[in-house]
């Protein structure tokens, strides 16, 4: 008894320590964002050649990471996988939080964040960005609805209203049939923002949407695994997860990573073998350019995750699953960076003096002759890191607090 109390006490301390650290990171991010709003995007290191950077990479990453929850909870409902059902509420909640973060991290990337409502007032429906905002809004509503149905079904059950509870459960299953295709389209449309552009050969491939779905499954499942592990450790909610389920998820994660790597290998071979220069530029920049460590890092982390999870004796340990999940999450983040930066760094027309890097630069900078780039250069600025870290910490914070205070566990 005393022992149990002690564990609870320690867990409580760990929880509050985590909450304070994450809260501090969110605060730093908020200050950085305030500075960026005041001075403009000049505080970032994006310029006219590489005009999208860390924010858009993180946006695409968040969209992918949000996949796990909704796909898990709807698969549990559609395919009647009983062992996954206790996780459904938690998974839907995680989905809703991450997809909200995805929508919001567009804000610091906008030059005129005050005009964001123009997206509704003047929506140009031909633009893939409008498709994406629509599907993300749908996705968010569905995951919140699913969450509400699951929670209220249980509340009704507790109150003794058996038929009402059954009805809600039925609705939840019906909604899952919509949720699954919406999830697939959310990832595909996010890929099409990039994949439909003829100006960027590195993006312009029909494989991009399937690769986004595959990598979304990787990162999404990895986050669900990570949340399960953190919850097991801190005992925030009561969920009954069999060891078997964790092993199942680990094996699924291996399959998802391998499918993703297969698609990417197919893409890279199709670029490398014919050797068309404008296509090759992206591949070359990814593996041998200034960002080579992200290029190779993606593959190394993905393969390491597979190796760790492939051994049954390692797979049994929480530490191994946790490490592999973090590797998988980072691997997919690297994939997004590898997609955005090499594509933008290699414009189709590369003659000197190059592209003017944009307005707002200081006169000293311009007079020193740094106002053109032929090949784009980019490394995120401290402000970009701070804002992005703030978002990631915010997601972790809300998931943590949500697990503690929302009825996301099973009642028994």
């Amino acid at each position: 008894m005393e022992n149990k109390n002690l564990i609870e006490k320690v867990n409580g301390k760990v929880y509050y320590a985590l909450v304070s650290i994450l809260g501090a990171i969110v605060l730093i991010g908020a200050v950085a964002w305030a500075l960026e709003i005041e001075y403009g995007l000049i505080l970032t290191n994006m310029r006219d050649v590489v005009s999208w950077g860390l924010y858009i990479s993180t946006f695409a990453w968040f969209v992918g990471v949000s996949a796990g929850g909704l796909i898990l909870s709807s698969s549990a409902a559609i395919f009647k996988i009983g062992a996954w059902k206790p996780l459904s509420k938690m998974a839907s909640f995680v989905s809703a939080v991450v997809i909200t973060a995805a929508a919001l991290i567009i804000m610091p990337d906008l030059g005129q964040p005050g005009r964001v409502l123009n997206l509704i007032i003047y929506a140009h429906t031909f633009s893939p960005l409008i498709w994406d905002f629509s599907i993300i809004a749908t996705y968010l509503i569905i995951s919140l609805l699913e969450l509400w149905l699951l929670i209220s079904s249980e509340t009704l059950k507790k109150a003794g209203n058996e038929p009402g509870s059954k009805m809600r459960e039925k609705y939840a299953i019906g909604l899952a049939f919509i949720a699954l295709p919406v999830a697939i389209f959310t990832h595909s449309i996010t890929a099409w923002i990039f994949g439909l552009q003829i100006s960027r050969p590195w993006w312009n491939t029909a494989l991009l949407a399937p690769a986004f779905v595959a990598s979304a499954l990787v990162s999404g499942l990895a986050l669900v695994l990570l949340v399960i592990l953190v919850n097991n450790r801190l005992k925030l909610i009561n969920v009954n997860i069999e060891e078997k389920t964790k092993a199942q998820f680990s094996k699924l994660l291996i399959i998802f990573i391998l499918v993703d790597l297969y698609l990417l290998f197919s893409e890279y071979l199709t670029i490398a073998w014919p050797g068309e220069p404008s296509e090759l530029a992206g591949l070359y920049t990814m593996f041998f350019g200034p960002y080579w460590y992200i290029g190779w890092g993606q593959w190394i982390l993905a393969l390491l995750a597979v190796i760790i999870l492939a051994r049954p004796s390692w797979r049994a340990s929480n530490l191994a699953i946790g490490t592999a999940s973090v590797f998988a999450l980072v691997e997919v983040f690297f994939y997004r960076m590898n997609l955005i930066i090499p594509a933008l760094a290699n414009p189709l027309i590369q003659y000197p003096p190059g592209i003017a890097i944009g307005g707002g630069i200081s006169s000293a900078y311009a007079l020193a002759g740094y106002s053109f780039q032929i090949v784009g250069q980019y490394f995120p600025s401290p402000i970009e890191w701070a804002i992005t870290a703030g978002f990631v910490a915010g997601v972790a914070l809300i998931i943590l607090v949500g697990l503690k205070h929302l009825p996301l566990g099973t009642s028994e």
Binding site: G111, I198, S199, L348, Y351, P352, A356, I357, G359, I361
Partner: protein
Amino acid sequence: MTRLGMVIDLSRCVGCNTCAVACKEENNEPLGIWWNRVLTVGGGDYIDVPEGEYPNVDMHYLPLACQHCEDAPCVKVCPVAATYKRTEDGVVLVDFDRCIGCRYCMAACPYGVRNFNWGEPVYSPGVDFPVGHQGDHYDKYNPSRLVYMPERPKGVVEKCTFCVQRIDNNEVPFCVETCPEGARVFGDLENPDSEISGIIQNGNAQQLLPELGTNPQVYYVPPYQKKGIVPDYANQSVINANESTIAPGQSIIDLAEENGYVSGFVPPQSKKKGGE
């Protein structure tokens, strides 16, 4: 209907950068922003450096600004239709009141001709007043669209407008007026009798990156002795002198004038510029 376009004769262009500077002045472009640039198609990372080894050297210039594409990728991607193609004359414009600064158009443009205002505009030291065209200009055909202002706010995208504030007042773009070599011809591509149509029909005028299907309204006449306007991996051969209808020292524009083509658009060049 009108479809405004431009032909740039690369055999006339000497790479003097007058058009780039004239553009910067007329449109009051801040530091770091060049709507119009003169690229060196040569042998390296620096301007004015030819390709090859003396005496077999090779180089020409490629003035580059917005191509005002018929099927413009930037117009297709803009989520708020801040970038739009004016139906009356096919000019691609940016509405500075509506742009949200997402920069999707910059990712979508194959020509890299869009500039972003990352911060408040900064000008050369000592120049604390706007030069060039004074006062805001609203689209002649869509008066709610703010398509020119002397100082653009931070966080919006800008680019060549064919000098919309001038063409809406029946003047030619400033780069056309100032080009010392007369390498630029501006006019209506739809009018078969215009000088520009004559050049395009008669000569070897080409679009940039035609394989993308964007169908630019800016055309280039290749430099002397060359088939293409940029080095082409599939088509590297030099034009055969017998095939050429252009004599050395004669440009494709002279050829069109000899054949009786006249400008259908260009008003008298003596008209005073910039005055309101």
